[in-house]
């Protein structure tokens, strides 16, 4: 059984987030830290301090921002960007492949 930390959204806690257990990711001590602050406040503190892994080595390929997104809290990510634009890698040169051919009546099937 795995549990999710309600603060940093790390989803591989081996114990429930209660009873003075400590999240190895964000260091929240459940029953102590979250008695004083809300989970949202603790999350903001963790993100504000850089969202670093707390104890030992993080899981392979661990990314705190992906963890927040996949945990359903993308709004917790700092707004790194103001604009994200996709561009083609190649220039498109339109060509008439089959003059007179109608695109209708074709049925694609995989």
């Amino acid at each position: 059984m795995r549990y999710r930390c309600p603060v940093c959204l790390f989803d591989r806690l081996p114990y429930p987030p209660t009873g003075y257990h400590i999240c190895p990711c964000c260091s929240t001590e459940f029953g102590n830290d979250d008695a004083e602050f809300s989970h949202l406040q603790l999350r903001e503190m963790w993100v504000g301090s850089g969202a670093f892994w707390f104890f030992g080595n993080p899981p392979a390929n661990w990314n705190p921002w992906m963890q927040l997104v996949e945990g359903g809290h993308p709004e917790a990510i700092p707004h790194f960007q103001t604009n994200l634009k996709s561009e083609a890698a190649t220039r498109i040169e339109p060509r008439l492949i089959m003059p007179g051919a109608s695109p209708y009546g074709l049925l694609a099937e995989t």
Partner: protein, 143 residues
């Protein structure tokens, strides 16, 4: 062994009722605009954006009873792994191809350069095929 006929990264994939895929906005270069006063991006920064990797495998005779695993791996420009996904692919009777949509919830923008996507095929724990990587370029630019 199935062979890879399509391998792309794109913004959106629409699957119609008959299972035919349409790919929207194939990724070539992603430009992220940064205000001059903005703090430096962490090297592991992502943008919460849904996008997907689409692969299509074409089956060959004799593949019916074999088990294959698609291994998708994505690397940051510095070579470290951003994510890995494994999907089992099985041949559906009377279908010539199998398509796999791998949705990803965030796009890596922390490092300018080439994001490499690798796809390989495993059978019985052994890599039996490795595709040439595809790349998405990330550019950091001013607003």
């Amino acid at each position: 062994m199935p062979h890879l006929s399509v391998f792309v990264a794109c913004d959106k994939i629409i699957i119609d009722q008959s299972g035919v895929a349409s790919l929207i906005t194939l990724f070539g270069t992603i430009t992220i605009s940064l205000p001059p006063e903005a703090p430096e991006l962490p090297v592991n920064a992502i943008v919460p954006k849904e996008w997907a990797v689409f692969t299509m495998w074409e089956w060959e005779p004799g593949d019916e009873k074999k088990k294959f695993m698609q291994h998708l791996e994505m690397r940051w420009p510095d070579g470290s792994v951003f994510l890995e996904k494994k999907d089992e692919i099985v041949k559906v009777p009377e279908k010539r191809m199998t398509q796999i949509v791998s949705p990803i919830a965030g796009f890596p923008v922390g490092q300018p350069g080439m994001i490499a996507l690798n796809v390989s095929l495993e059978s019985d724990g052994t890599t039996v095929f490795k595709a040439r990587p595809i790349f998405v370029e990330v550019v950091h630019g001013p607003v």
